[in-house]
């Protein structure tokens, strides 16, 4: 562990931050790109040479937080800027773009859409004006086709249309691996099989050796399963085999040691898998399984009570056909 595990009930920041951001939100929801938040609550951390990451809130989307809940950031290369994650809403993306423009005059040439989830793609609308290459998994277009508008409507209900932004589709897709050269550094992309979702794309930066696994790696925040449980465990092995030692997780601290973080993730996923399998074998119904499986992981993850039952539901449907 690179950071202490956080118990959802004993997480002082969650409530305090909500209250504070709520106050600011009430005063000024329109003053983009400040997001209406306390300025000190969001800063970019330089986690490697020319690599900046903003830590997302360990929370769900609310009108006050503009869905700024994922770790987002950018890499400044010799020839241009690559956005590693765009943000959870147009407002969040605009905030990120302002942070970039403040630091460099280089053009924003690439924006990575790491997977279909709204907290990772709705910031992309803020970068359309820069005409970058939007990079995504080969399955992302299909996934966004099916879900993009559904997510957008729900985000509009929460944030309003102006702060939500459009669904942005990839203009360069990766079916296996791909490389982007920023002049002084290369970014290597890997398209993963069904795992966290069916459109997970990871990236390694040659300049720093840092891995950007996006939501293939959750730290502190409970992983959410929306692809394949067995597939996710397979892709974890693949990430290990790539050899990086440090990573920028999709949620959690801005940078972590990879091995212990993956061990924690694997611990949860295998507990979920084994517990769900055992429940199915013993004819424990899905509604009982959601209350019993993986309970011993509860103290290790924030938002456990919000997501574990859902994860069990998804795992049960996958494993009952084994």
């Amino acid at each position: 562990m690179t950071a202490p595990a956080v118990h959802p009930r004993a997480f002082p920041g969650g409530r305090a931050l909500s209250r504070r951001s709520a106050l600011f939100g009430g005063l000024c929801l329109c003053c983009l790109p400040t997001l209406g938040r306390a300025a000190e609550s969001f800063t970019m951390a330089e986690v490697g040479p020319g690599i900046f990451v903003r830590k997302g809130l360990i929370a769900d989307a609310t009108p006050e937080n503009a869905d700024a809940i994922a770790n987002i950031g950018f890499i400044v290369g010799q020839n241009g800027v690559l956005v590693t994650e765009s943000g959870g809403s147009l407002a969040d993306g605009q905030w990120l773009r302002a942070e970039i423009v403040e630091r460099t005059q280089k053009p924003i040439t690439h924006v990575v859409l790491t997977h279909v989830h709204p907290d990772h793609v709705f910031g992309a609308g803020a970068f359309v004006q820069d005409k970058p290459v939007f990079i995504g998994h080969a399955k992302l277009t299909e996934a966004l086709s099916a879900r993009g508008e559904f997510y957008r409507k729900r985000l509009i209900d929460l944030l309003g249309e102006d702060r939500t932004g459009p669904v942005v589709y990839p203009t360069m897709t990766v079916a296996d691996t791909a490389e982007i050269d920023l002049g002084d550094r290369r970014l290597t992309f890997t398209a993963h099989g069904p795992a966290h979702t069916t459109s997970d794309l990871s990236m390694i930066d040659s300049g720093s050796g840092l891995l950007f696994p996006a939501d293939l790696l959750f730290v502190n925040r409970i992983p959410s399963l929306d692809g394949s449980l067995k597939g996710w465990l397979t892709e974890v092995e693949r990430l290990k085999a790539m050899g990086p030692t440090r990573a920028v997780p999709g949620h959690g601290p801005v940078v972590v040691d990879l091995a212990p973080a993956l061990a924690d993730l694997t611990g949860y996923l295998t507990t979920l898998r084994d517990g769900t399998r055992a429940a199915i074998a013993k004819d424990v119904s899905i509604e009982k399984a959601v209350d019993t499986v993986a309970r011993d992981q509860r103290d290790k993850w924030a938002l456990f009570d919000t997501y574990n039952g859902r994860n069990v539901t998804v795992a049960y449907q996958e494993l009952e056909w084994e």
Partner: protein, 275 residues
């Protein structure tokens, strides 16, 4: 106050149909804020359309609905119907009042049935009352009710393409629980079928995937009927039904059809009773 609104929205996240780390759904849709009177009036209307002018008495003993008060996944809400009075129950209907097609399922039991407990998984599109109506052998109707909080279950896109969702359509499995000689056998029937609701939109084609759902499913033990299920779009994809039957050593036959002419038949051998 703003704080409180934020918190309320957060807690509604549980009702979202599609897994996401991010998004808090907002159940502001019609139905979430209806009064009890409005709900009761709607039920009167639905009951009349299904059962005509027949009287429906309240019951807490002939049928009971167990459903999560707040669904974890609106596209898969597990329901248990308990009907302890063996031999008295002819049929049970499940109605999800605020779903686009409220009449979710009707089970008509045959002589090989043991209708004590029935489980199925449904989609719930809105905050809604759910009604179970049983018909007893003497032709009387009794109802039980439960309120469920969920939203978006019918329009929630599946996590895959339509083609992928239709892979293996019509495949079936059946699992049998261990049982003593002479006792009813508990069985779980699993059917591969997307049960497209007709409300799931593909944004590339800008078209809704046409409704395609299991509309009839008959389970028999030998020549004796266990039940016939009449289904609709409210049944979750890849339907799973738990039921019990009186074994007579013959194979269990399952015949299913969907509203687009699909037809599938499978046979399963129940375990020999152990003493």
């Amino acid at each position: 106050m703003t704080f409180r609104i934020g918190q309320t929205l957060s807690s509604l996240a549980l009702g979202l149909a599609v897994a996401t780390t991010a998004l808090t759904p907002v159940a502001w849709a019609a139905g979430a804020s209806d009064t009890d009177q409005e709900r009761a009036a709607r039920w009167q209307e639905i009951a009349k359309s299904i059962f005509g002018d027949r009287q429906i008495a309240q019951t807490d003993s002939l049928v009971k609905i167990d459903a999560p008060a707040r669904a974890l996944d609106a596209a898969l809400v597990p329901i248990t119907l308990t009907m302890p009075n063996d031999g008295q129950i002819k049929a049970v209907s499940l109605i999800i009042d605020d779903n686009p097609a409220p009449y979710a399922a009707k089970f008509e039991f045959g002589p090989a049935a043991d209708p004590a407990e029935l489980k199925l998984r449904v989609r719930v599109n809105n905050y809604t009352d759910m009604h179970a109506v049983v018909e007893t052998q003497d032709g009387k109707l009794y109802e039980a009710k439960q309120f469920v909080k969920a939203s978006g279950g019918c329009s929630a896109p599946m996590g895959m393409s339509d083609e992928e969702a239709m892979k293996g359509m019509g495949d079936m499995r059946m699992k049998f629980a261990e049982t003593g000689a002479g006792k009813p056998v508990e069985a779980t029937l699993m059917v591969r079928h997307p049960n497209f609701s007709g409300m799931q939109m593909n944004q590339v084609s800008r078209e809704y995937t046409p409704a395609r759902y299991i509309d009839k499913l008959t389970v028999s033990a030998g020549d004796q009927k266990v039940f016939t299920l009449t289904g609709d779009i409210s049944i979750a994809s890849n339907p799973v039904i738990n039921f019990a039957f009186k074994p007579d050593g013959k194979p269990i036959q399952v015949a299913a059809s969907d509203n687009q002419g699909g037809h599938w038949q499978h046979s399963f051998n129940p375990p020999a009773p152990t003493n």
